[in-house]
Symmetry: C2
Subunit: 398 residues, 2 copies
C-alpha cells in the first residue's frame, strides 16, 4: 500500500477541521482560551486628560506671561472629581493618574520645582503646553477595536478586558476529547506490572499535551477484544467530538482499531504515513466526529499529537494553524529511509538564532529520551544527508 506523505496527511486533516461553538465565561478564567468577539474601547483611553507626573498643574499662558511662583490652591488626587483652578496665576498640586484640573494645561514634576509656604516656584525657562499630560483619547478612541476576535487570551488581554469592563467574555468552546488506550499488556500507574506488562503512560502524556491547549480530556482503557472495543467506541463517538487512540493500528493480530472503526461507520481518510516514528497513524471521520488513531509507541504518539492534532485544533478553534517555527540544525545528520524523520533535538539560543542539536535516542519506544530533548526537527523525505546550518520546521513541546 502506498504511504500518505506527511504533507498530504496534514492537508487532509486540516480540511477536516470542525467548529465547536461559542460560550461565555468569566474573564478571569479565560486565559489561554480563544476570543470569539471583538473587544472595543468603552470610552477614550485615557478617558480624560490625565496627569502623568506627580507635581503642580498651572496655566502655560500665565507661565509665558512671566509668572514663576504660583500659589497652591489645592490638590487634585487620582480618583477625585476634576477641580477648577480659580485664579489663573495660581496652581494646583496634581497626582499621577488624576484628571488635569480645569483652567490648567501643563504639569511640572516635583523634581523641577520648589515648594515653600504654600507657593510652588517653577525652576524652568520654558514649558510646553500639555507637558506631562496624557491627552484624552491619545492611546485609543472610544469604539476602537482593542482585541480582535480569534486572539488567544493572555495576561495582556486580561488587563484590557478588565479595563473595558468585560467581566464575561465570549470564547471558543473546547472540543470534548476522549483518549483511549488499548492493549492487554497495560496496567495502571498505581499497579506493579508483571514481567510481561508495562504501565499505561501514553494516555497521560496525551492528556498533558492537550492541557497545554486548555483542553480537559477524558481517558479510558479497553482490552484487546473486538466486541468490547466496538461497544465502547460507539458510545465514545456519541459523547465526544474527538477520539484519540494510542496503539492497535498496525499489522498485529490484535490491532483491531481500523476494523472496528470501519464497522462503526468511521470513514478512513488515510492509514500509514511516510514518516518515522508514527508510520501506522490512522485518521478518519464520521460526520462531525474526528478520530486520530496514533501508533502505540510513546514517541510516535507524542510527535503525531504535535504534528497533527495541534494544527487541527488550532484551525478548528480559529487560530493561525500554519506553524512558522523553524530551527537551525546544529550538527550534520544522516537518515537513510525515504520517510519524513522527526528528529529529537535539544534547543539553544545563540545571538537570536535557534539551534537544534540532535539527541540520539533508541527509537520510538524510548520515552525517556523525550526528557532529554525539547522538540522535533522535521527532516523531509527524499533526502538522507542533512547539513549543519540548514533550517527545518520545528515542533516544540516545552
Amino acid at each position: 500500500m502506498e504511504l500518505t506523505t506527511v504533507k498530504d496527511a496534514l492537508t487532509i486533516i486540516l480540511n477536516n477541521s470542525e467548529e465547536f461553538g461559542i460560550e461565555e465565561i468569566e474573564f478571569m478564567h479565560s486565559a489561554g482560551r480563544v476570543l470569539k468577539e471583538n473587544i472595543v474601547a468603552d470610552r477614550d483611553f485615557p478617558p480624560f486628560n490625565r496627569v502623568s507626573m506627580d507635581g503642580v498643574a498651572f496655566s502655560s499662558k500665565a507661565f509665558n506671561e512671566g509668572i514663576r511662583k504660583f500659589k497652591i490652591e489645592g490638590i487634585q488626587a487620582a480618583g477625585s472629581k476634576q477641580l477648577t483652578l480659580k485664579n489663573e496665576h495660581h496652581c494646583i498640586e496634581a497626582m499621577t493618574g488624576a484628571m488635569l484640573p480645569n483652567n490648567t494645561d501643563v504639569v511640572i514634576q516635583y523634581e523641577l520645582i520648589t515648594i515653600e509656604n504654600g507657593f510652588a516656584t517653577i525652576n524652568l525657562d520654558t514649558v510646553k503646553k500639555y507637558q506631562n499630560v496624557h491627552l484624552k483619547g491619545l492611546d485609543r478612541k472610544k469604539n476602537d477595536v482593542l482585541i480582535s476576535k480569534n486572539t488567544i487570551i493572555s495576561a495582556a488581554e486580561i488587563g484590557v478586558l478588565a479595563t473595558v469592563g468585560k467581566s464575561k467574555v465570549k470564547v471558543g468552546k473546547q472540543p470534548r476529547v476522549m483518549i483511549v488506550s488499548t492493549g492487554n499488556e497495560l496496567v495502571e500507574v498505581t499497579e506493579t506490572p508483571a514481567e510481561h506488562q508495562i504501565r499505561r503512560s501514553n494516555v497521560y502524556t496525551l492528556v498533558a499535551l492537550l492541557e497545554k491547549l486548555n483542553i480537559k480530556a477524558e481517558t479510558s482503557h479497553i482490552l484487546d477484544d473486538k466486541d468490547t472495543l466496538q461497544t465502547n467506541i460507539q458510545s465514545f463517538l456519541k459523547d465526544n467530538d474527538v477520539l484519540l487512540f494510542s496503539g492497535a493500528v498496525s499489522k498485529g493480530k490484535f490491532d483491531f482499531i481500523p476494523e472496528v472503526l470501519d464497522n462503526l461507520g468511521v470513514e478512513k481518510l488515510f492509514h500509514k504515513v511516510k514518516q518515522r516514528p508514527g508510520k501506522p497513524f490512522w485518521f478518519g471521520k464520521k460526520g462531525a466526529k474526528t478520530v486520530f488513531a496514533f501508533p502505540g509507541n510513546p514517541v510516535s504518539t507524542f510527535v503525531s499529537c504535535l504534528k497533527y492534532f495541534y494544527p487541527w485544533y488550532n484551525k478548528s478553534i480559529g487560530l493561525n494553524f500554519e506553524s512558522k517555527h523553524e530551527a537551525i540544525l546544529n550538527e550534520d545528520f544522516y537518515f537513510k529511509p525515504n520517510l519524513t524523520y522527526f528528529l529529537q533535538v535539544k534547543l539553544n539560543q545563540e545571538n537570536g538564532k535557534l539551534l537544534a542539536t540532535p539527541i540520539a535516542g533508541k527509537g520510538s519506544g524510548d520515552l525517556a529520551n523525550l526528557i532529554d530533548s525539547d522538540a522535533f526537527l522535521e527532516l523531509p523525505h527524499n533526502r538522507s544527508n542533512f547539513i549543519k546550518g540548514e533550517v527545518f520546521p520545528l515542533l516544540t513541546y516545552r
Copy 2:
C-alpha cells in the same frame, strides 16, 4: 537620589530568593510544577526483550542451518506471559510490544514473509540475531536517573512518571502571593466608572502573569488611607510569602506604600531603577517575606513582573533563572534618556532567527499596546542609537 541600575536591581532581587518547601501531589496535577526528587527507572527499559514489529519469531540458528519454512506453534501477544518455542525448527507469531518467546532470537515482520497452512516462509537470504527485537535495558537501566530534580514537569515527564509508577510526586511548593492594588481612582471590573475613575486592571494582569508560573495568587484593593494600608498590609505580610503592589510608590501626595512598608519593618533594598517604564519600582524584605512594589502604570507593572518577579521565582523554586532569550532588532531605534529601555516588540521567525520589530506605543499607560506586541526588548542605558541587526535580551509574554 541615585537610581539603581537594572543589573544591580536584579542582582539584589536574586540574592533575596526564598525556598517555599516541598509537597507531594498527584502526578496528573503536576504539569508545570518543578520536580523535587530524582525519578529513577524502577526496572530496565524495556523490561524484557521486546518484539518491535508484528511478525514471526524463530531461532537464527535454525535459519542459518538453511530452514526457511517454519511451522507456527502459537501466538505471543503483547501482555501475555512469555511463551517457549518447543521445537527449534518452528516459529511463533509475535506482536509488537510482546515478550520475545524463549528459544527465539529474531523477529521478521509480516511484510517479508508468507503464511500458508500454518507455516511461515521467510523470504530473505539472511537475518540478523535480535533483528526487530528491542533488547532488555537498551534504553535505560534499572536505577538510572530518568528525570533530574528541579526539572519543570511537562507532557514528556508525565509519561515517564506514569511508566515508573510515580502516581504521586514531590514538587516545589508554590509561594503564597497577595497582589494589592491601591488608588481611590479604581473601581471594580463590573462597575461603570465615573469620569475621573478607571477600572482595576493591573491586579488581574498580574494574576494572569503568575498563573503562567502555576501560582494561584490572591488579590486585594486598599484605598489611599495610611492607617487602612498599614493594618491590611500587616495582615498580608503575616499570611503570605510575597506581596506584589501596583502603584503608590512614586512622589505623589498619596503614595504611601514606601512609608507604610517602612513603618511595618519591611527593609527597603532599593527604590527607583534606571529604567523606562517602571522607574519608581520599590523592593524590600522583612525576614523571609518579599515585597515587590511596582509602579501603577499598566506597562510598568507588566514589564517589572517579567523582568524581576519571574527570575526571582525561578531561582526560588530551583530553576535556571538566567534567561538566555534574545532577539534581533529588526529596525533602527533611537532612545535618548540614560535609562534601560524596555521596548515593546512584535516577534517574527525567519530562517531560524528571531526578529523583533518595535511597536510604537503611547508610553507606560498604554495598556492596549501590549495586545499588539509579544515581548519587550531590553535596550541598555548609556546608549541612544540601536541598530537593526543588533541582538538584545528579550522578555516574552506570549
